[in-house]
Amino acid sequence: MEINKNKPPRLFLKFFRWFCHPELRNSIEGDLMELHSERARGMGKRTADMKFIFDVLLLFRPGIIKSVKQINTLNQSDMFANYIKIAFRILVRNKGYSFINISGLAIGMAAAMLILLWVQNEISYESFHPKADRIYKMYSRDENNGRIDVWGNTPALMAPELKQSYAEVEDAVRHRIVYFLVKVGHDHFNEMGAFADPGFLSVFGFKLLKGKTDALSNDFGAVLSKKLAIKLFGTIECLGKTVMVNDTDNFTVTGVLDDLPLNTEFEFEYLLPWNYVTRLGWDRGQTWAYTNAATYVLLKEASSPGAFDSKMTGIVKNHIKEGDGSTREVLAHPLTKTHLYSKAENGKLTGGKIETVRLFSVIAGLIILIACINFMNLSTARSEKRAREVGVRKIVGAYKSSLITQFISESILLVTIAFVVALALVQLSLGLFTQIVGAPLHIQFTNAQFWLYAIGLIIFTGLLAGSYPAFYLSSSRPIKVLKGTYKKINALVTPRKVLVVAQFTFAIVLSICAIMVQRQIQFAQDRDSGYNKSNIAYNFMQGEIPTHYDLIKNELLARGAAVSVTRTYSPITRIWNTINELTWQGSGESDRKTNFLLYGADADMTKTFGMRVKLGRDIDIKTFPTDTAAVILNEAAVDIMRLKDPIGEIIKDSNGTSWHVVGVVKDFIIESPYERISPMIINGWRDRYGVVNFRLNPANDQVKNLAETEKVFKKYNPEYPFEYFFAEEYYNRKFGNEKQTGTLASLFAGLTIVISCLGLFGLAAYMAESRTKEVGVRKVLGASTTTIATLLSKDFLKLVIISILVASPLAWLVVSNWLKSFNYRAPISVWIFVESGLVAIIIALLTVSAQAVKAAAANPVVSLKSE
């Protein structure tokens, strides 16, 4: 009662306690209490309270108020020093566990860093143009064979109209790839270049080393890349010098560009003014239906791309009344998205490389997670060892929060060490990885942003790995721990089991996917291509080759360099043309929409390529002059045209030209080996041939064959360099993307298995260690080594089996989803799941049993004496 009466206002006392500097708090509070009780006695409680409040408020001034910062940094830095010291001691004391922890984290981080480097490279495409956010690439969209196609070429007539009739367009430029001979004196090279509109260099941000952005407004001016300039002139100081292009036309160098950066989709060594197209006569008969130029639009600042897109979408079809192109729409796609979003789904550019980027980003995250799980498992399993330290710290006065800080800073320290190791690993493996992904990646050590990301990664990983152990360890009860009743016999408590299962599930899913990708590639590679790919070489018709084709062919055969020669429109691995609006006897209205691949060949096509003729014969214009109007069909075409007796059938195209069928060839793969074979029409127009194909003589040495071939071409076409390509090589490139995915999936599957096993090994080692005494007692009581080894491995085996059960349906979902993108796909066999499951069990058993057997074989006398 007496004490109660003397109590000052609680609220203000609390307030005082809250703000007051802790060093002063006690004595001042004492003074206040003393004054209060004295005043209460003298002047009554109310006055005393008022004075108390007054005093408290007057105490709220600098010097009395605690300064949070000052106190905390003082204490904390000392504590951190202590945490780090302890962490180092523990690291050094448990070398084995430290090694497992650090190497697991390092491998995981290295893998994630490689992936992130790649992702960063992919995202950076085209972002270097200063106006990139206002540049849009125009795409055509139309329906073909019931499918909506979207492609990046548009009519050459479109750019001028866009610039003229649309207010929001600042500039519209065209770009068209071309392959010309470039010549200075006697140095000549076949180089890839492009025609471009005068505004091209000011719309895009390619770096000009010499000349100005108007370099292309000169009708006879050419812009060279630094590489080509050095190749031709030996220097970039070549403004005003003359280059001969296409063996006929002279151009003055008006600009030199720095070599194109690696994160652009553009590919050219020189730029020629657009109106050279007109001078060459290549735009004769140009219509709105031809899509042969890439069009880029620079929108004015503050204009709405959405409104522009919907306004101009009909620009092409408005010019075409009927037939091809009358339903064609145009869409504007942001330039920075052209690399990642290049595949159309339902007529919208939403897919493409971005899918791989997303997939691998997820994998990067999961790999880090797996590495962190190792850390969590090992640190919680070993919590018993740390529990005593935690107990002592708590009794000395550590808060739970400071213990959490301790463990998290410990894990961040460990992650930092792992990061350094990971950097070394990345640096070592970067060369190999660069080869696999085909993009030049490097760590930008001097880039501040890189270090920012690095610190982000360290903190993220440190928190991810350290948070669970921190909460787990800091919550132990000090009294229990110090009394020694804390011991847990089984190292595998439930959360840890879940984590191991999660780890293995992911590793198994990834390995099943990797196997399936390999199978799919193998399946497509094993597919009958319909022709014999080996020994086929080709080169492009250039210069004098078309005129001297017959002579070249005869001489190649006479010299024995080739066993057969034919000419075609395009290489056997590529198709450049399609045709629709065809009619034939018995064809209906819907057949007009059917798209046929259009290929062109001459005599000896089937012989040169080793194709199987089903009916009839090759086209042979020399022997049968009417063969300029002859066609060969493939089986798919015969099927779709429903022809019973195809030979002699007449096919008419939209121009009214009639073609007669002279042969049927067995289906062969010219497009994607994953797709169904499309119907194809092969004809033979004299002036359209672009490629000479020759089957090299298998009886001779390849090098000798090629040397002979070169002599022949040099003889008839001396102005051009002899360049040849192998069909087989280009056929194999069709698998490039999937092979890359396959290699990466296998690589990361392997890594996750390694990391998971590292963790399992650590857990097993720990469990064997903590059960030494139990094993000793069992052995003394007569248990055999095998029984004990089984006992110790059994728990782990169970976990792996659960992971297999969880992983299989998951993997099935992922894999079948991936396979959906292929028309020609390998069946998903149960054996893949069984195989990878068995492999997982075997690897896990090998990892665990070494420890188990070691523990089981130990002499019980030693283990029981070891108190």
């Binding site: 004595s27 003074d31 010097g63």
Partner: protein
């Protein structure tokens, strides 16, 4: 540039601590100043001054007994340090010096009036 930093109120507090000798703690100092100088002293002003003096090294403190009246909080007793003593002496000396330097005229109001 002063050798010893000592404000007016600080000086009063320092002197009072000296007066109280062994009994100088918050409440007693406050009361002593209030009775001797008849001026009101808030706990806040006093504590700030005490802390500043302690930070300057003119005062040192020790924890004393905790009474029931103080709700179990210990008293904080202050004592003048050697440095504190020197500071006091220095202040006094400078004052004395100044006093002695004032010419007689200046202090004679009659002269001023004329």
């Amino acid at each position: 540039m002063k050798k010893y930093q000592l404000g007016e109120f600080e000086e009063v507090v320092l002197l009072t601590v000296g007066v109280l000798y062994d009994e100088a703690y918050g409440v007693s100092i406050k009361k002593e100043i209030e009775t001797r100088l008849t001026r009101n002293v808030s706990v806040g002003a006093l504590q700030t001054a005490l802390k500043r003096l302690e930070d300057k090294g003119y005062l040192k403190s020790r924890e004393g007994e905790a009474t029931e009246e103080r709700a179990g909080r210990p008293k904080k007793y202050f004592q003048i340090t050697a440095l504190g003593k020197r500071a006091m002496e220095y202040t006094k000396d400078t004052r004395d010096e100044l006093w002695s330097a004032i010419p007689n005229m200046a202090l004679n109001p009659k002269f001023v009036e004329e």
